[in-house]
């Protein structure tokens, strides 16, 4: 097998992850069409009816018939889930009832209009998120989708039809669907159906919709739908091929890097990159490089950019915001460190020629090996986000921005005044130095722009006030022109350099603050010893670092989520529980309950989630920055690890205490056992010695000595039983299981209870089909010996006793059968209880512990013990079972070849 035949390990891993994720998940089938009216709902209902006829539990969650009678007819006979009514601003709106569907748990759920936006106040903003939860709960879903609702095609469709659709579905979700069924109707037929009134058109949008249903549009949409489906089919084929290792299809290298610019149209670039990545079947990254210039953008623009970054993340990219001086340099470094070979960037109309080469060329110069893909401008770019709080923001911004320039002007004026006083004492050449110093100072304190301004002002002031002829801009000596030029250039260069340095210093400080915060949090959390401490420290640290209100939900002793003490308001335990159950963030800035003021992050630790972190930032925009998000997640992980560590400290302490008490119990029992048995052993021995002593005792004396010995032995048995019972009761029985031959165990039991059985005829029958059984031989021998001794005790002499072993289902049943008086009726269960005997008053010795011990031992072996009459004539049969396993095989080499030893000699 040659190398390229082998499936790529990365692809295989991805496949395994996918399969694992899918195991237990419901299947999603999407009926996909080019536009409304092609018959998606109809096709879905036809398929659903067929399944229902086959006995599948079909439920219609949401089905929009749009008043079409054919469709409505199909819906008849299918159970329909009543919608949930949600209060929204005084109105009651009907919405798909997600919780109802989850509770009902049908085999197949029909959910029309996958891209639908839910009524505000629902759990998820989008219906596809509802579907995601249904799938996660193991429910199969059929749904429908029009091509214009696909996120990546949204732009294109808008461009073609001129109608912008706001309800979109992420392509990743579409691609994750298990099946996509294309419902196709040719454009002409669709127009005919429209004319016949078979296509639903809302009255108010009729004109726009008529515009939409032009033949050209419909053909374009149909092509888009067909091509998108073809792409998917190709993906399926690729997946199938890589699955079967026909040939290597997936590329693991060649991933894309998308550069997000500050300009309009960045979204278009992101969508294009997503489309490209999907077509190339590669992973992709999206990066926004923040330069000092971009840092000064107003809040609304920055938020717009961050939204674009979020869009990229939603479309499946790994995202990052990088602070750097040079965009090209930062991009190349990022691409190198992440092994990305293709760069996607917008065709920047704002490439400013006077500042240098366009970005593409700059990257090309730095890294000629990186492929650059420039994306053309969107035909229909969305309007830039309307800046909120425009007046306030802009006013404050201008004031803020002008201040350094005013300062620069003031510095120039001060310099001029100061130097004026110096003129009598110093040469003009030296005075120039003072002006130069002022420029440098301005650059250091106020940045590049003010430095440039100061350079110009100082040149002007120097010329006007000091260079002869004074109080005129005329210059008598041409030499001064050089002075001016040098001063200007130095001012500009110094301003540029210091501004850059300042920026670098800022970035470094920022980074240092972040790592210091992490370090401190890690140090503080590593010292905590109790859950309460851990929660308190984590809350404090995160609240300080993110300037937010923080609350932590942790597990209580009963494994229920409980809120740590906090003064925070507006927290919702339900959302926290959801985040924990789904192991996903919820609330603010996420896809689930985005309307909440709080962000809920599950505290994921190595073994399991340890709780939920709730965070209410003072500035919600803050959380959109990927670095901030990562930082927050790192903090959450730290807190989770601390909680886990504390948890295991508790577990370890518990185990130590348990071990300690067990050890104590054992040593107590052994001491007790020794102290009780030793005198008994002495008694037995002494009675024996007495019997054999010389001169010989008289027969009555001998009988007495024998009686002492015999009773002492019985006493020993009772003590043994009591001690064993105490041992069993003090904790679980420690089984020392090995693969045992029952024949052997029975043999040993018969030998040890030989005396108790006396002259009773004994037979043993062991079914040859009984294999080795995994059990503790000492304890099972004990059970058998107890049962045999009982048989000896409760039956008349010469009464036959049988031991029978045979397999029954997946267990081995061992029966001890006697033909004595049997167990009194109604006492069959009770005799296995402690201190209980078959007959209440009896001359037979014993305290009624034997069978209780038997039961404890058999149950510890996951077996069962019971008694039944041997036959209609009476008698008792005690049965117990032991689970039958598969004994380990015998190695043929160890078993030895079947050669006769004698024969080998010959």
């Amino acid at each position: 097998m040659s190398d390229d035949q082998r499936p790529d390990p990365d692809a295989l891993l991805a496949q395994i992850r996918d399969d694992e994720q899918r195991a237990g998940r419901g299947n999603l089938r999407i009926y996909f069409g080019s536009s409304a009216g092609v018959g998606k709902t109809y096709a879905m209902l036809v398929a659903a009816r067929k399944l229902k006829a086959e006995g599948v539990d079909v439920l219609a969650g949401v089905v929009e018939t749009h008043g079409r009678s054919e469709t409505a007819a199909l819906l008849e006979g299918l159970p329909v889930l009543p919608p949930a009514m949600i209060d929204y601003r005084g109105k009651r709106l009907a919405e798909f009832d997600l919780d109802g569907a989850l509770a009902r748990k049908p085999g197949l759920l029909l959910v029309d209009e996958l891209a639908h936006s839910n009524v505000a106040g629902s759990r998820h903003a989008k219906r596809w998120q509802d579907v995601e939860e249904l799938l996660a709960a193991g429910i199969d879903v059929y749904s429908t989708l029009n091509v214009q609702h696909l996120e990546s095609l949204n732009d294109v469709v808008g461009g073609i039809t001129g109608i912008v659709v706001h309800e979109t579905l992420p392509d990743t979700f579409f691609d994750k669907a298990d099946e996509v069924v294309l419902v196709d109707t040719p454009a002409d037929e669709l127009i005919e159906r429209l004319a016949a009134g078979k296509v639903y058109l809302p009255a108010q949008a009729e004109r726009a919709a008529k515009n939409f249903f032009r033949k050209g549009n419909l053909m374009a949409l149909r092509e888009l739908a067909l091509r998108r489906t073809a792409d998917r089919v190709e993906n399926d084929v690729q997946a199938w091929r890589s699955d079967r290792a026909i040939t290597q299809v997936w590329k693991t290298e060649g991933a894309l890097l998308c550069c997000i610019g500050p300009h309009e149209g960045a979204e278009h670039v992101v969508r294009s990159a997503a489309l490209l990545a999907q077509q190339l079947a590669v992973t992709w990254h999206a990066v926004y490089v923040e330069t000092p210039r971009l840092q000064r953008l107003d809040g609304a623009r920055r938020e717009g950019i961050l939204q674009t970054v979020k869009l990229a993340r939603d479309l499946g990219a790994s995202t990052a915001v990088v602070s750097a001086q040079s965009v090209a340099q930062a991009l190349v470094e990022y691409a190198r460190s992440h092994n990305l070979s293709k760069l996607v960037l917008g065709h920047g109309k704002a490439a400013r020629w006077w500042l240098g080469r366009p970005l593409g060329l700059a990257v090309g110069a730095l890294a000629p090996d990186i492929d650059r893909i420039e994306v053309g401008q969107s035909q229909r770019s969305r309007p830039p986000p309307v800046p909120r709080e425009k007046g306030v923001d802009a006013g404050a911004g201008i004031g803020e921005q002008l201040r350094p320039y005013l300062w620069a002007a003031a510095v120039c004026a001060a310099t001029t005044l100061l130097t004026h006083a110096l003129v009598p004492y110093f040469d003009l050449a030296n005075i120039v130095m003072v002006f130069l110093l002022a420029v440098v100072g301005t650059g250091v304190w106020f940045g590049r722009g003010p430095a440039v301004l100061a350079a110009f002002f100082n040149v002007a002031a120097f010329d006007f006030f000091f260079v002869p002829p004074r109080l005129s801009f005329a210059v008598s000596d041409v030499q001064y022109l050089l002075t001016f030029a040098v001063m200007l250039v130095v001012g500009l260069v110094v301003g540029q350099l210091t501004a850059g340095l300042r920026f670098q210093a800022q970035v470094a400080t920022h980074r240092e603050t972040r790592s210091r915060a992490l370090f401190e949090a890690a140090r503080d959390l590593s010292n905590v010893l109790t859950v309460e401490q851990a929660l308190e420290v984590a809350q404090d640290v995160i609240a300080r670092e993110f300037r937010a209100q923080v609350a932590i939900f942790a597990h209580d002793a009963n494994d229920r989520l409980q809120l740590a003490p906090t003064d925070a308001a507006g927290l919702d335990l339900g959302t926290a529980q959801w985040a924990l159950d789904h192991n996903q963030p919820a609330g603010l800035g996420t896809d689930t309950l985005a309307g909440s003021a709080w962000l809920y992050l599950p505290l994921k630790a190595t073994m399991r989630s340890r709780g939920v972190l709730a965070l209410r930032p003072a500035e919600p925009r803050y959380l959109l920055v990927p670095e901030q998000r990562q930082q927050l997640e790192t903090f959450a992980a730290l807190a989770a690890m601390a909680l886990e560590r504390v948890h295991y400290i508790d577990v370890a302490q518990g185990a130590t205490v348990q071990m300690e008490s067990e050890r104590l119990r054992n040593s107590l029992l052994s001491a007790l056992s020794h102290d009780l048995r030793t005198p008994l052993a002495v008694l037995v021995g002494l009675a024996d010695t007495l019997m054999n002593s010389l001169p010989a005792l008289t027969p009555p004396q001998q009988a007495l000595a024998a009686a002492i010995g015999e009773k002492t032995l019985r006493m020993t048995d009772m003590v043994t039983n009591l001690l064993d019972m105490a041992r069993i009761q003090s904790g679980e029985i420690r089984l020392r299981v090995e693969w045992q031959s029952l024949e052997e165990v029975i043999g040993a039991a018969l030998k040890s209870s030989h005396g108790a059985l006396g002259q009773r005829p004994l037979s043993v029958h062991i079914d040859p089909a009984v294999p080795l059984v995994e059990c503790d031989a000492v304890l099972i021998e004990r059970v058998l010996a107890n049962l045999l001794e009982n048989a000896g005790k409760y039956t008349p002499p010469a009464c036959p006793i049988q031991v029978i072993v045979r397999p029954v289902d997946d267990a081995v049943r061992i029966s001890v059968r006697d033909h004595g008086p049997g167990v009194p009726k109604g006492r069959e269960e009770a005799i296995f209880d402690k201190f209980t005997r078959g007959t209440v008053e009896s001359a037979t010795p014993g305290v009624g512990l034997g069978l209780a011990i038997c039961r404890a031992i058999v149950e510890a072996h996951r077996g069962r013990i019971w008694v039944e009459p041997t036959g209609p004539a009476g008698g008792a049969t005690f049965n117990f079972t032991l689970p039958m396993g598969v004994p380990p095989p015998l190695d043929m080499a160890d078993a030895g070849a079947m050669v006769e030893p004698g024969a080998a000699q010959r």
């Binding site: 056992s673 020794h674 048995r677 030793t678 008994l680 052993a681 002495v682 008694l683 037995v684 021995g685 002494l686 024996d688 010695t689 019997m691 054999n692 002593s693 010389l694 010995g709 002492t712 032995l713 020993t716 043994t720 064993d724 020392r736 090995e738 693969w739 045992q740 031959s741 024949e743 052997e744 165990v745 029975i746 043999g747 040993a748 018969l750 030998k751 004994l762 043993v764 062991i766 080795l772 031989a777 000492v778 021998e781 031991v803 004994p887 380990p888 015998l890 160890d894 078993a895 030895g896 070849a897 079947m898 050669v899 006769e900 030893p901 004698g902 024969a903 080998a904 000699q905």
Partner: protein
């Protein structure tokens, strides 16, 4: 021939006393010791022909005593042990003890064990006979032939090797680890199921009633013993 000497190492005075009485009645000279240290001193100075040792002693474990004794003496050692401590018995046997008696025990049992162990030592000194008999089984060690009631039996090589190890240690309790090591070699220590299977096969071939063996006796939780004289308890 002078009287054989037995060393009784036991911390309970009464048990020492009746063991002494029983042994003296059989013609033994008995010396006593209460601690491991004392026991080792007695064993070194009196050179006993038999040692009877308790496992729980005030200044240490009987197993330590046996291990120390085995460094320089091959004298038969019988261990006294409580009923529930199978692991202690195994470690004592592995340390070099020859046999064990479970407390409480009677004089008859003690003396029978003593006799059996002494006989084994005596037999061991004599030139090994090539013919070994137990019950109606006859093993011709030279010709590697096994006959039962005069009829030749077929044993597999492993079965024969197992029987051979048992015969070489007839009367002694052999622990599972010892048998596995001797028959299958090192590296098979955990595979006690091998023993159960092959011992079962041997019993099928050599015993009248494999479920109530008279010669290939199971010592539950400890090991196996080949009982030559079936009347012996």
């Amino acid at each position: 021939m002078s009287m054989p000497v037995a060393l009784v190492l036991e911390d309970e005075r009464e048990i020492r006393q009746f063991v002494r009485l029983s042994l003296e009645a059989e013609g033994w000279a008995v010396c006593e010791a209460e601690t491991v240290k004392q026991g080792l001193v007695e064993a070194a100075t009196r050179r006993p022909d038999l040692v009877i040792a308790d496992l729980g002693l005030p200044d240490g474990d009987g197993v330590d005593f046996i291990r120390a004794l085995r460094n320089w003496s091959g004298v038969p050692v019988i261990v006294l042990s409580a009923r529930t401590d199978e692991r202690d018995k195994v470690s004592a046997l592995d340390a070099g003890a020859d046999d064990y008696i479970t407390k409480p025990f009677g004089t008859a049992e003690l003396l029978a064990r003593t006799r059996a162990n002494m006989r084994r030592v005596r037999d061991g000194r004599a030139t090994p006979e090539s013919l070994f008999r137990f019950g109606d089984v006859e093993v011709d060690l030279a010709a590697r032939l096994v006959r039962r009631g005069g009829v030749e039996l077929h044993l597999t090589p492993i079965e024969y090797r197992l029987l051979g190890v048992l015969i070489a240690n007839a009367g002694r309790v052999l622990t599972h680890p010892y048998l596995l090591r001797e028959v299958w070699g090192p590296g098979h220590a955990g595979r006690t199921h091998y023993l159960r299977v092959f011992m079962g096969n041997l019993r099928q071939k050599l015993e009248d009633d494999p479920a109530q063996p008279r010669h290939l006796v199971t010592e539950t939780g400890v090991g196996y013993r080949l009982v030559v004289d079936a009347e012996q308890p």
